[in-house]
């Protein structure tokens, strides 16, 4: 049972890496940024390109991959979302634009890298370490630790840093934030940069743990979105917790139910929270928002 729990925590940590950036954008810009999944995939492929194709050392390749992901997210905002916002686009329009970007970026990855499975081998695949009878690999430990650090770090960032407070101010009431001298568009741009950098980290870890396929971002963003809804989509720590819970629930359910129901678990959880607790575990329950 401990192994199943551990499997769930590892899966949940991966979802949490995706959910964190996703929730950061939502909590600031107030729309569902589905292209976030493609940014994760972009980060993974960027690492593949720098580390495997150009044979740059791992750490420089990782830094470059994170930079590429951050840039990709920033470009999405500058070229697509920002012009749409200036034309008065509703969150629904922005959501549809996000879908279109997801498909576009994944198609570009397919065109550039091909559809065959890619593998990033930084660490050799070896037997994992024993942990009270369960087994976990060093990379999986890193994934869980990074997810935990994100939980703590992002909470501290949003609470105690100037940028974090700006993000919260814009999320809370952008008109008042503007009056206080906070540039809303600059804040959005920074949110996209930060969220996409986190997506880059997620892409690196996911790419090292699993294989790379151009459509890997789609399934990740669905799980990340579900986890964010469960935990509270406008709370970054909540989204991370929700994603962890989702990973554990899926794997425990897969142990007791036919494994084909694994995805059903995610969507049943989603429906239950949307029906009975739409703000999620840690989401705020504010009234009308600007």
């Amino acid at each position: 049972m401990l192994q199943i729990l551990l499997n769930g925590i590892i899966a949940g940590a991966i979802y949490a890496l995706v959910a964190a950036g996703f929730a950061l954008v939502y909590s600031t810009a107030r729309f569902v940024h589905f292209a976030h999944g493609a940014i994760v995939a972009g980060g993974a492929y960027a690492l593949f390109f720098f580390f495997e194709r150009l044979a740059i050392g791992f750490w420089p390749a990782a830094v470059l991959a994170i930079a590429v992901a951050a840039l990709l997210g920033w470009v999405c905002n500058e070229l697509v979302y920002k012009p749409l916002r200036h034309r008065g686009a509703t969150p629904l329009i922005l959501l549809l634009a996000g879908f279109a970007l997801l498909v576009l970026i994944e198609s570009l990855l397919l065109l550039i890298f091909g559809a065959d499975v890619k593998v990033i081998r930084v660490l050799p695949v070896e037997r994992g370490m024993d942990f009270f009878g369960a087994i976990i690999t060093p990379l999986q430990v890193v994934i869980v630790v990074v997810a935990a650090l994100l939980l703590v770090g992002l909470h501290a960032f949003m609470s105690f840093t100037r940028l974090g407070r700006s993000l919260r101010a814009v999320a809370s009431n952008k008109v008042v934030a503007q009056i206080r001298g906070i540039s809303v568009e600059a804040t959005y741009a920074k949110a996209f940069l930060l969220a996409s950098a986190i997506a880059g980290v997620a892409g690196i870890l996911v790419g090292m743990e699993y294989n790379l396929e151009p459509t890997m971002g789609t399934s990740l963003v669905i799980k990340g979105f579900t986890g964010a809804i469960v935990g509270g989509v406008d709370s970054v720590p909540g989204a991370i917790l929700g994603a962890l819970l989702l990973g554990v629930a899926e794997n425990v359910a897969a142990w007791y139910l036919p494994s084909g129901y694994k995805d059903a678990v995610a969507f049943v959880l989603l429906f239950l929270f949307l029906l009975f607790k739409p703000n999620g575990i840690m989401g705020s329950n504010k009234g009308a928002r600007k």
Binding site: N7, I10, L110, V119, A254, S259
Partner: protein
């Protein structure tokens, strides 16, 4: 001459020319022989299976060159559907209604499963190169080729049983050939436990742990290369005492190189062989080998069969279907016969490391 009159005369001359050239085509009165048989090939040239599609083209064109040498001209019309089902249907519509093909050769499950119902009322012979069996249920003019996954997985199970493995589990992809494989395994192990998954799933930790907990000593999985990579990685990382069985187009050279120790004691099924003569002919024509000899050999075999059947019957469809059904054995890729319009091949079993049994 008045311009208006000149324009009318020109239009009449052009129209006459079009009509006459069409009439010549219809009557076959053009010097040079009979109208070529037209075969539409629907495959993937730019999508996930692009390298296989290119192999198909090589085999099909080699077949055409041979047929032309025997006085049976064939025109191939290729369509790229990128493994997207809706594109397969529109490609086939174009081939049938615009290009007027005499027969179709459709590759891979997504296209075959999408096109087959659409061809239910068609008068075109269709050959589906896919692991799924259902495409031939829609029309008496349809044929199916590629490996029999039920038979292949049954043979894997038989080999595991001969090795003394008490129970074999199945990691079943939620797609038709996954179900066929499960049926094959259960002919030998009726109580074989199963863990199913959707294509694209990357995490097999819990399903494999559950199979192991239910007492299985081996797992059979047919799917794609990424499935094998992900499963074998878990087997190694978690040190699971599980042998691995699959098809040899899933366990690629890359998989064998990376997971040689996990594949020891396992079994793979695939086509028994591709004839050395065919390989030589490919090299002679192209100066290189295809990404996958299977794809090239299948296209080569079936394009010839379809063309011969159509020529033998003057394109009369029912006659051609009968002739095609009676196609003789062909050593190119171990084709034995058609049974109920499904191709039967010699199935080869190799050890997990690719050593023939």
């Amino acid at each position: 001459m008045d311009l208006k009159v000149a324009g009318i005369v020109l239009a009449v001359v052009v129209a006459l020319g079009v009509v006459l050239s069409g009439a010549f085509e219809l009557t076959g009165a053009v010097a040079g022989g009979p109208l070529p048989v037209k075969i539409g090939v629907v495959t993937d040239f730019t999508g996930p299976a692009a390298s296989w599609g290119e192999s198909t083209r090589m085999g099909a064109e080699l077949a055409v060159a041979e047929l032309e040498g025997n006085g049976m001209p064939v025109e191939l019309v290729f369509e790229d559907y990128k493994l997207e089902s809706r594109l397969a249907v529109t490609s086939v519509q174009k081939l049938v209604e615009v290009d007027g093909v005499d027969a179709l050769y459709v590759e891979f499950n997504p296209g075959s499963l999408a096109v087959a119902p659409a061809m239910a009322d068609s008068r075109i012979i269709s050959m589906f190169d896919a692991a799924a069996e259902s495409p031939i249920d829609y029309s008496q003019l349809s044929f199916k080729t590629y490996l029999d996954y039920r038979a292949g997985c049954r043979q894997l199970a038989q080999h595991f049983k001969a090795d003394g493995v008490k129970s074999v589990g199945v990691l079943k992809a939620n797609i038709e050939f996954g179900e066929l494989c499960l049926q094959g395994v259960r002919e030998i192990y009726p109580d074989a436990p199963v863990q199913s998954y959707d294509l694209g799933e990357a995490d097999f930790s819990t399903p494999l742990a559950r199979l192991l907990a239910s007492g299985t000593g081996a797992v059979v999985q047919v799917g794609f290369e990424s499935d094998a990579l992900n499963s074998l990685r878990v087997i190694r990382e978690k040190n699971l005492a599980l042998r691995y069985g699959s098809s040899d187009d899933v366990v690629t050279q890359r998989v064998r190189e990376e997971y040689a120790s996990e594949l020891k004691g396992g079994w793979l099924f695939g086509f028994a062989s591709v004839s050395p003569e065919f390989k030589q002919e490919i090299w002679a024509k192209y100066g290189r080998e295809p990404f996958n000899y299977y794809g090239a050999a299948l296209a080569y075999t079936h394009v010839k069969q379809i063309a011969r059947a159509l020529y033998a019957c003057g394109r009369e469809v029912e006659c051609a279907v009968e002739k095609l059904s009676e196609s003789p054995a062909d050593a190119t890729i171990g084709f034995k016969r058609f049974e109920g319009r499904a191709a039967v091949f010699d199935i080869g079993i190799t050890s997990g490391l690719g050593v023939a049994k």
